[in-house]
């Protein structure tokens, strides 16, 4: 991609990221694993999206599919991934190399293993600058120093000459962010960026990401299993379950008027400060569905407390709510529907009779 076409891509009106019916399947001895199964969404420039789901919901595979970082062996992909109006889903490794780093970059879960233990911090930040922007060593190191300041690392001059083992986990994740931002990407994928960090450091890293997003007008895709992480830090939230998108809305809307019982259950499983101590943590019973032989109907039906016959027999399509065009969900009897209240009342009756007996 030449610099001029690259500039043209940055200027188009097309949404930054447009996924249409993206599927990623893996061939395994057990059969075809449907890790990502028909996901569509759009992300505008400068916005942030949180992808939430439990382990095995396909959220990491989805982000790596978009980045094109999956192994080619045994992977079956289909659907369209458009980046600034340009199809990138079918690009080869060579073509992707001009996209990686300059257009899209990624931050990984474990800062302990995502830095090369044998390279100085300065060299690791300078390397993408030298590959992509053809900087000389002096300029690259000067830019690296500035990047370290941007990610709020004290004493950047000293840190540049240190090796990863001399830095704490939070510090290393800051370095990872600096490396990912080095070439000024327009989209940043963060795959559980705070999972391996202390709670106190988590908030700092998330704030830093938000700050950099505003300053650089980047889009961020934040992949996490923790609704609490995305709550205050993303514009939109997409909830994934069993390889499918089950609900998507703006963050405010999702927390105020969720439609999907799975989202409700996820939220209920977060401990609240207002609860009395020793309150039992709400858990979602059962296990995520088998992605080799997914259930015929709604994939959450087996664990859904409100599931009815229709849920098991037929798969609910992703539908848009009447009052908010940006809010979509996949459920036959969403939270707030008459059937939902009926099922809820039945559940509490059953509970009462059990308690009475």
């Amino acid at each position: 991609m030449s610099p001029t076409t690259q500039a043209a891509i940055r200027d188009t009106d097309a949404p930054l990221l447009q996924l249409t019916d993206v599927t990623t399947h893996f061939r395994t001895p057990r059969g075809l694993v449907r890790a990502v199964d028909g996901v569509s969404f759009t992300l505008e420039r400068g916005k942030s999206l949180g992808i939430v789901g439990e382990s095995g919901s396909g959220k990491t595979i989805l982000s790596r599919s978009i980045m094109g970082l999956l192994p080619t062996h045994g992977t079956v992909r289909s659907g369209s991934i458009k980046y600034a109006g340009r199809e990138i889903g079918n690009l080869g490794r060579k073509e992707m190399r001009s996209v990686w780093g300059r257009e899209m970059a990624m931050i990984f879960q474990d800062p302990m293993t995502s830095l090369n233990p044998l390279m100085k911090i300065g060299d690791q930040i300078a390397e993408p600058l030298r590959i992509h922007l053809k900087m000389n060593k002096v300029d690259a190191w000067a830019t690296a120093r500035k990047l370290l300041q941007d990610v709020r690392i004290p004493e950047p001059d000293r840190r540049l000459h240190q090796y990863p083992h001399e830095l704490s986990g939070g510090m290393r994740q800051r370095v990872m962010i600096a490396i990912a931002m080095a070439c000024g990407p327009t989209a940043l994928f963060a795959d559980e960026p705070t999972t391996a960090l202390d709670v106190t450091v988590q908030a700092q890293i998330l704030d830093l990401l938000g700050e950099q997003r505003r300053e650089r007008n980047m889009s961020i895709v934040l992949v996490t299993h923790d609704l609490g992480v995305v709550a205050g830090h993303t514009d939109e939230i997409a909830v994934m379950y069993g390889g499918k998108l089950v609900e998507k809305a703006s963050t405010r809307r999702l927390f105020a008027a969720m439609k999907m019982p799975y989202t409700e259950a996820l939220l209920a499983s977060i401990p609240k400060m207002s609860d009395a101590s020793h309150t039992r943590l709400a858990v979602i019973p059962g296990r995520p569905p088998d992605l080799v032989n997914p259930p015929k109907g709604c994939r959450f039906a087996a664990r859904c407390p409100y599931a009815q016959e229709k849920c098991i027999a037929e798969e609910p399509p992703l539908t848009v709510t009447a009052d908010d065009p940006d809010h979509s969900y996949a459920c036959w009897f969403p939270v707030g529907s008459p059937e939902y209240h009926e099922a809820r009342a039945r559940l509490s009756d059953k509970k009462n009779t059990v308690e009475a007996a």
Partner: protein, 306 residues
């Protein structure tokens, strides 16, 4: 003093010395190297070592196995009245050089095959795997014997191969024999490394394959390669001795293996002429193994059998 809380540290720990075996290995290999270099190149610096060809005469006469171990000749004298100690020191040079040469050849070729097949996997890995497996299925001793003899023939046939002297023949042969085990270990390590997140991270920043291999994989493979190089050195030196014993030795100054080969017929008359080169060989191989083990411990490398 009633110091019951802290366990007494041994003298070694208090002086921050390495383990006894490691210390021995370092001292042995260090002094051997220094002595053999000095003896071969600056004989004046080591007056206590005789020239390797000088005869130790008994009452002015050359006598076969004239002296046993003692003050006249520390390790005794040999078949043509030469000083065994001097010969052991002079011979160490080629013994070590052939071992080091073979290790370098084996490691460079083996690492190349290992890194490529471990990183690219798929067809590259399969082809390389078949090649190394077939190499390993031939008994190494037989393979080396045939190769050395074949190189002899080739040298006579083609003049451009004239540079391949006996030491080179041995290095090339032993190097080739050790390619397969080196390749296997490097391949295994590469497969572990390529799945590490920093390699994916480098990929996600648009680093090319050659850059990933050169900057991310190779530096991280060095500890493993150094470790197997040490263990391999010990084995290859012993293998060279084995070949020399079978008649594939070098011309003078003889390596230890060749010395053992020459003296073994007279072991009943003069045990020292066989025993001391054997001892040198044993201690040297032991030293390399001890150092290799220590490196493996330090770098936490689980080694496949070389």
């Amino acid at each position: 003093m009633s110091d019951t809380t802290t366990p007494r540290r041994s003298l070694r720990q208090r002086l921050h010395l390495p383990r006894l075996g490691v210390l021995f290995g370092l001292v042995w290999l260090g002094s051997l190297t220094i002595l053999t270099v000095l003896a071969n190149h600056v004989p004046a610096a080591v007056p206590f070592i005789r020239y390797y060809d000088s005869k130790v005469k008994v009452d002015g006469k050359v006598k076969k196995y004239g002296f046993g171990p003692g003050l006249d000749a520390w390790f005794g004298t040999g078949k043509s009245a030469e000083d065994i100690f001097a010969r052991c020191i002079y011979g160490a040079k080629l013994t070590l050089l052939i071992g080091i040469g073979a290790t370098i050849i084996g490691l460079v070729v083996g690492a190349l095959i290992g890194v490529l097949s471990g990183y690219f996997r798929g067809w590259t890995d399969r082809v390389a795997g078949i090649a190394t497996d077939s190499l390993m299925s031939i008994p190494p001793l037989l393979l080396s014997l045939v190769l050395v003899l074949r190189l002899d023939d080739l040298k006579e046939q083609y003049s451009w191969m004239g540079w391949i002297s006996r030491p080179w023949q041995l290095s090339l042969t032993l190097g080739l024999v050790s390619v397969a085990p080196f390749a296997r270990i490097v391949r295994a390590q590469t497969m572990v490394l390529r799945e590490r997140e920093f390699v994916t991270a480098a990929r996600s920043l648009g680093a090319s394959r050659s850059r990933i291999i050169a900057r991310e994989l190779l530096p991280n493979l060095i500890p493993a390669m150094v470790t197997v190089a040490f263990t391999g050195l010990g084995i290859l030196i012993a293998a060279e001795a084995g070949l020399a014993f079978l008649g594939m030795g070098v011309e003078e100054p003889h390596t230890w293996g060749k010395m053992i080969d020459i003296a073994r017929d007279d072991i009943e008359k003069a045990w020292w002429a066989t025993a001391f080169p054997c001892l040198m060989l044993f201690l040297t191989v032991l030293s390399f193994n001890l150092l290799g083990d220590e490196l493996a411990r330090r770098f936490d490398i689980r080694e496949a059998a070389v």
